[in-house]
Structure formats: structure tokens, C-alpha cells
């Protein structure tokens, strides 16, 4: 069965600093991988997704993520964070064979230090 681990519950970075949020997945085949962001009072917004091809994927808001099969990781990065990036970030995986089910990680809360 698929699973997703986000080892960092809460991260604080200074505005303008770089960011990396960690995500490890467990799945027997090539997974579909996602990063979602949830701002307070908002729904889950898709930042980026990986299905196949180039292992470095670009998303919205200046985010990118790199799929590393050897490490079963899909870490999210941003070179310079803005105060508006403060939110909860969820890594997620879906199976090719699943019609519906996305498996979410437990989330990483990002705080931005002015």
C-alpha cells in the first residue's frame, strides 16, 4: 500500500531564504506525486505534480520539486520564500491503478520569519 511521510511537522524560515520541504513515499511502482498547499480558510491548492518524464517539475508560485526514485523522495523547493508562502504543505501520492484515491502526508506547516 502507498504511504507518504513528511518528517518535518513545522518549519520556520526567514523571508527571502531558501526552502526545502521533505517528502518520502512508499509505493511499489512509479507513483504519481503531488504537492498541495492549504492556506488558512482555503482549500487544497495543487502546487505541482509529477507523472513521468523530467524528474524536476516546476509548479506555481515559484515552487519546484524533484523526483528521486533511488531515495523515494519528492522534495519541494523554493529559492526565496515570501511571507505569503506561510501555509500548510501536503505531499501526496496516487497509484496508477487507483481510480480515485490520493494518499496524503501529514503535512508540514511553514512559518515565515519577517
Amino acid at each position: 500500500a502507498q504511504s507518504v511521510t513528511q518528517p518535518d511537522i513545522h518549519i520556520t524560515v526567514s523571508e527571502g531564504a531558501s526552502l526545502e520541504l521533505r517528502c518520502n513515499y512508499s509505493y511499489g511502482a512509479t507513483p504519481y506525486l503531488f504537492w498541495y498547499v492549504q492556506s488558512p480558510g482555503q482549500g487544497l491548492q495543487l502546487l505541482l505534480k509529477y507523472f513521468s518524464g523530467d524528474t524536476l517539475v516546476q509548479g506555481i508560485k515559484g515552487f519546484e520539486a524533484e523526483f528521486k526514485r533511488s531515495q523515494s523522495s519528492f522534495n519541494l523547493r523554493k529559492p526565496s520564500v515570501h511571507w505569503s508562502d506561510a501555509a500548510e504543505y501536503f505531499c501526496a501520492v496516487a497509484a496508477y491503478s487507483s481510480a480515485s484515491k490520493i494518499i496524503f502526508g501529514s503535512g508540514t506547516r511553514l512559518s515565515i520569519r519577517p
Binding site: 482555503q42 482549500g43 495543487l46 505534480k49 496516487a94 481510480a99 480515485s100 484515491k101 490520493i102 496524503f104
Partner: protein, 116 residues
């Protein structure tokens, strides 16, 4: 940009009462989903729905839960007799095509249910 809308944003109910959470998916989407997030826990899949029937459900989605598309626009989640442990944020989502793996789900802002 098209969005999924959910009502109510917050509902407080007494244990044992019936609750209906409503969702208006994106108009050209054909696949509908409910997920929930208990406070401090992961977002969990509940059910998917297509062509007026459930296509997949999780073990959480027991006989107390039901879904319905009563008209051409709404998609509802009913909890027949709420329990304290049903307190959670419930997210509706929709997609154009099936397969959460291959197609993007658009999520609503969620309905927070508090059971007292």
C-alpha cells in the same frame, strides 16, 4: 478560474443528528470525491462518485455515510447519525476524468463539522 464551492463553511451539531454537507463541483467535471481531515491528522479519502454511483470508497465510509447528486449541480455528503469522531474538515473535490493518479482534482475550501 472555476472553483468547487462548499456549504456550510462550518456546522455545529449535536451527536446523533443528521448532517448534510453540500458541494457544487466544477460544471464540466464528471467525477466527484469527498475527503476529510480530522484536526491534526492526515487528509483521508472517503468516497468517489461517477455516473450516479459510488465508484470507490474507503473503510471509513460506513453505513452512516451516503452521497448523492440530487440535481445537475450539487453533490452532497450525508452523515446519518453523527458521532463525536465525525468532527473534521470535509473536502469536496471534482475532476474532468477519472483517476486521481492521472488527473488533477480541484478541491473546495472545506466544511468544518463540529459534533458536540
Amino acid at each position: 478560474e472555476p472553483e468547487v464551492t462548499q456549504t456550510p463553511s462550518h456546522q455545529v451539531t449535536q451527536m446523533g443528528q443528521e448532517v448534510i454537507l453540500r458541494c457544487v463541483p466544477i460544471s464540466n467535471h464528471l467525477y466527484f470525491y469527498w475527503y476529510r481531515q480530522i484536526l491534526g491528522q492526515k487528509v483521508e479519502f472517503l468516497v468517489s462518485f461517477y455516473n450516479n454511483e459510488i465508484s470507490e470508497k474507503s473503510e471509513i465510509f460506513d453505513d452512516q455515510f451516503s452521497v448523492e447528486r440530487p440535481d445537475g449541480s450539487n453533490f452532497t455528503l450525508k452523515i446519518r447519525s453523527t458521532k463525536l469522531e465525525d468532527s473534521a474538515m470535509y473536502f469536496c473535490a471534482s475532476s474532468e476524468a477519472p483517476g486521481a493518479g492521472a488527473n488533477v482534482l480541484t478541491f473546495g475550501a472545506g466544511s468544518r463539522l463540529t459534533v458536540l
